[in-house]
Amino acid sequence: MSYRRRLLELAAPLLALLFALLVGGIFLLAIGKDPLQVYLTMFRFNLSRLDSIGSILYKSTPLIFSGLAVAVGFRVGLFNIGVEGQYFIGALLASIVGFSLHGLPVWIHLPLVVLAGMLGGMLWAWLPIVLKLRRGAHEVITTIMMNHIAYALVLFFITSVFLDTEQEMVKGLGSPQVRMPKLLETARMPTMHGFLETLGIELPRHVYLNWFFPLGILLAVALFVMLWRAAYGYELRAVGGNPAAAETAGINTQRTMLSAFLLSGALAGLVGLSDLLGYFGYLDIDFPKGYGFTGIAVALLARNSMLGVILTAILFGFLRRGAEGVQAFEGVPMDTIVILEGVIILSIVVAVQIVNWYVRRQEKLMKRRQVTMERAGGD
């Protein structure tokens, strides 16, 4: 029974995925495309090209950090909707440290930049959690507000404080970008091309897969160990499970919530760094938004499992890369894939419920059969 149950639980997300593809197919039909053709193109495009694989992993990198940040919050019973703002502030601090500290070797400068990013995320998580613990302000409300402040603040810093005014125009043509100064070379995260070459894999140059991806996986494993093997993780889960009982047992719930939320913020601070240090090399007004919110979906689908986050983040990376493919080759607007993302999230949530319900029903039926059998056997 429990073996079958496991199987069902694994099958649920897959069935949901299938269902989502079906619903997505209806949308594709509605805009006059052949769904089978589109999906086929998507899979072929995603799986048959090395640059696609690299791109999928690159696109999943920020989502791993963001999924982890949200999942850690959930584990301690806090809903961190503020990952969005936290990674913006993280990117801001990382950028400042990245362009301003001259003359450091890369092995000092790069870690400093990464730490600055984490510090920024923590900083932006600190206010909401203190407000919650001291004043009882709900973190959902405060973190949402902090997101908006972060957007505005980063914009202000880019346009009014650190605007790069020394941009060289090619032959004096064009207009300058609205961005901060470029990061120093010592602050850039190297891509994985060199390492992959030693393995005999020739990753095309236009893919920016960098060392943040393995770092994300490493962090997920470390968090898994912390959560299930360390005393601190045990306390974190206890506080998340029942704060009153944890407090009664002598666990300092306030401190646990504070530290776990700051940890969530620090993870959030890493979200934007793969793009900043591994691709753009500067912070501008078009810095990608939305990773924080997608992270909520990533954590939800992974059911707050640290290792599950890796898989669900890669799934989202897969869809996003696929969107580029079908846009280029099938003329399907990218937004269709956004719809697909939404449908997948909804159907997985529903599928999990259905499986739970089904399993419970099966157990009930088995019990009933047992009773009837006992009856028939007499006693």
């Binding site: 912390m226 093997r229 360390a230 005393a231 601190y232 045990y234 306390e235 889960r237 206890a238 499970g241 029942n242 009153a244 009982a245 944890a246 407090e247 009664t248 047992a249 002598g250 666990i251 300092n252 419970r360 157990e363 009930k364 019990k367 009933r368 047992q370 009773v371 009837t372 009856r375």
Partner: protein, 512 residues
């Protein structure tokens, strides 16, 4: 012989893991008071839920006044004349008695609430059955006994002639119990049928005409109340002879290990605790009696460091621990069995073994650096499961899958394993069955014998009397009386619990 008003034939209901009701044949006659007794988990609640339409049976039949009937839902049950009075009242505090009674059965005239007609009918009902109840008072101004009366009137107002009472005496003091019984007898005399669920044997023997005993989901038998006694019933319930008296050896108490001096706790302008002083010595059980909500919960929470007192001191073996956080208080050798297992005692979504180490998980032998030594913990958990006879398949199961009695054993095992000097146990046996109660009490007495200071808070007077060496009665946040257990009676304690020192009558007036 009067005809049965309700009959069940082979009623069976299974849940995952248990057969809660196994082929129950029940026959309840019109106008009788029929008690259903059994340990927790014997299937009483399930049976009652089937009768009032909350559950559908898997097998079997219900005959109502001789007619096979399917009771679809609680609304249908009340239409059929079956009403249930729940253990936890379902009343709106701010509403008046009348408003509460008509809630959900509002009669309207021209689309307007007809409060006046409702009030008239409520007065009629009270008159006919001799209930003392003012329909215009807000429920929050009523005593617990009166609130229960409102629940009964609610059921009568809806036309029930079969009334199911689920553990009605659990919340009452002895004086209120007598009043309830008088009311029930009057109801029965006027032809109403009463099904009375309880696990308190004395009460059942006092009130019931016939008694049906359930055990492990099956019916053991139905007996006439006059033809049995406490011992016989208990044996039917448990399936073996039961010891009632708690054997405590005489023991000279030692040093005071827990001392509370002039403790007060204010919430706004209200005193939740007022100048409470007491001491518990090693080898002594100190019982705190009182109607719930008179400061017991607050007293215990303040001692444990869950709340800060407004004034006063708490001393543990002469060391001042006032205002220290829970962890530090526990560090001084205090263990705590909280009154609400699910709220404060357990983390339900965590496993049994994880719950067995809650708060003790940082002990040096259990950690290696930042990591927990799982193997050591699992081994010790298995030992505790053995020692405390916790019925569980594997300690890796979530603690939520255990029965209430086994959950309480998990807490007890955890709290006693820490080798405390002081144990504070709130409602240590609430909701447990006879077997588990015996076990918990023996453990507490063993702790006393080992020289620990034990403070128990219990709403169950019999328990306080049986276990304690000394008893303090709390009323309105004060410790109004302190007596040696050997020199008092339940009646006397009940009086103090109602806030009086002069008599029950006056006590009642005072509460009103």
């Amino acid at each position: 012989m009067p005809s049965p008003v309700i009959e069940t034939i082979g009623l069976t209901k299974a849940f995952p893991g248990v057969v809660a009701n196994d082929r129950i044949d029940l026959e309840i006659r019109a106008g009788e008071i029929h008690a259903i007794v059994g340990e927790n988990g014997a299937g009483k609640s399930t049976l009652m839920r089937i009768l009032c339409g909350l559950y559908q049976p898997d097998l079997g039949e219900i005959r109502l006044r001789g007619v096979p009937t399917v009771i679809r839902d609680p609304r249908h049950a009340i239409k059929l004349g079956i009403g249930m009075v729940h253990q936890h009242f379902m009343l709106v505090d701010r509403f008046t008695v009348t408003e509460n009674v008509i809630l959900g059965a509002e009669g309207t005239r021209w689309g307007r609430l007809d409060r006046r007609a409702a009030r008239r009918r409520i007065l009629e009902i009270c008159d006919r059955y001799g209930f003392d109840l003012d329909p215009d008072l807000a429920v929050e101004e009523l005593s617990v006994g009166q609130q229960q009366r409102v629940e009964i009137v609610k059921v009568l107002y809806r036309g029930a002639d079969i009334i199911i009472m689920d553990e009605p005496t659990a919340v009452l003091v002895p004086q209120e119990v007598q009043e309830l019984f008088d009311n029930l007898r009057r109801l029965a005399k006027s032809g109403k049928t009463i099904i009375f669920i309880s696990h308190k044997l004395d009460e059942v023997l006092d009130i019931a005409d016939r008694i049906t005993v359930l055990r492990g989901g099956r019916k053991v038998g139905t007996v006439k109340a006059q033809e049995t006694d406490r011992r016989g019933l208990a044996e039917m319930m448990v399936g073996r002879p039961v010891l009632f008296s708690v054997d405590k050896e005489e023991r000279a108490p030692g040093e005071p290990l827990l001392k509370v001096e002039g403790l007060s706790l204010k919430s706004g302008e209200r005193y939740l605790l007022r100048d409470v002083s007491l001491e518990v010595r090693g080898g002594e059980i100190y019982g705190i009696a009182g109607v719930e909500g008179n400061g017991q919960t607050e007293l215990v929470e303040v001692i444990m460091g869950l709340r800060r007192p407004t004034t006063g001191r708490i001393l543990l073996a002469a060391q001042d621990v006032t205002g220290l956080p829970v962890g530090r208080v526990r560090g001084h050798g205090v263990s705590f069995v909280p009154e609400d297992r699910h709220r404060r005692g357990l983390i339900l979504n965590m496993t049994v073994w994880e719950n067995l180490f809650l708060g003790r998980h940082r002990a040096r032998r259990l950690t290696a650096g930042p990591l927990l030594r799982r193997i050591v913990m699992l081994g010790e958990a298995d030992e505790l499961v053995q020692e405390y006879d916790i019925r569980v398949g594997s300690t890796g199961q979530p603690v939520s899958s255990l029965s209430g009695g086994n959950q309480q054993k998990v807490i007890l095992a955890r709290e006693l394993a820490g080798q405390p000097r002081v144990i504070i146990a709130s409602q240590p046996t609430r909701g447990l069955d006879v077997g588990a109660i015996e076990f918990v009490r023996q453990r507490l007495i063993a702790a006393r014998a080992a020289g620990l200071a034990v403070l128990i808070v219990s709403a169950d007077l019999e328990e306080v009397l049986a276990l304690s060496d000394r008893i303090g009665v709390m009323y309105g946040g004060r410790l109004v009386k302190e007596v040696a257990a050997s020199e008092t009676t339940a009646q006397e304690l009940g009086m103090y619990m109602l806030g009086s020192t002069t008599g029950a009558k006056e006590a009642r007036d005072h509460v009103l």
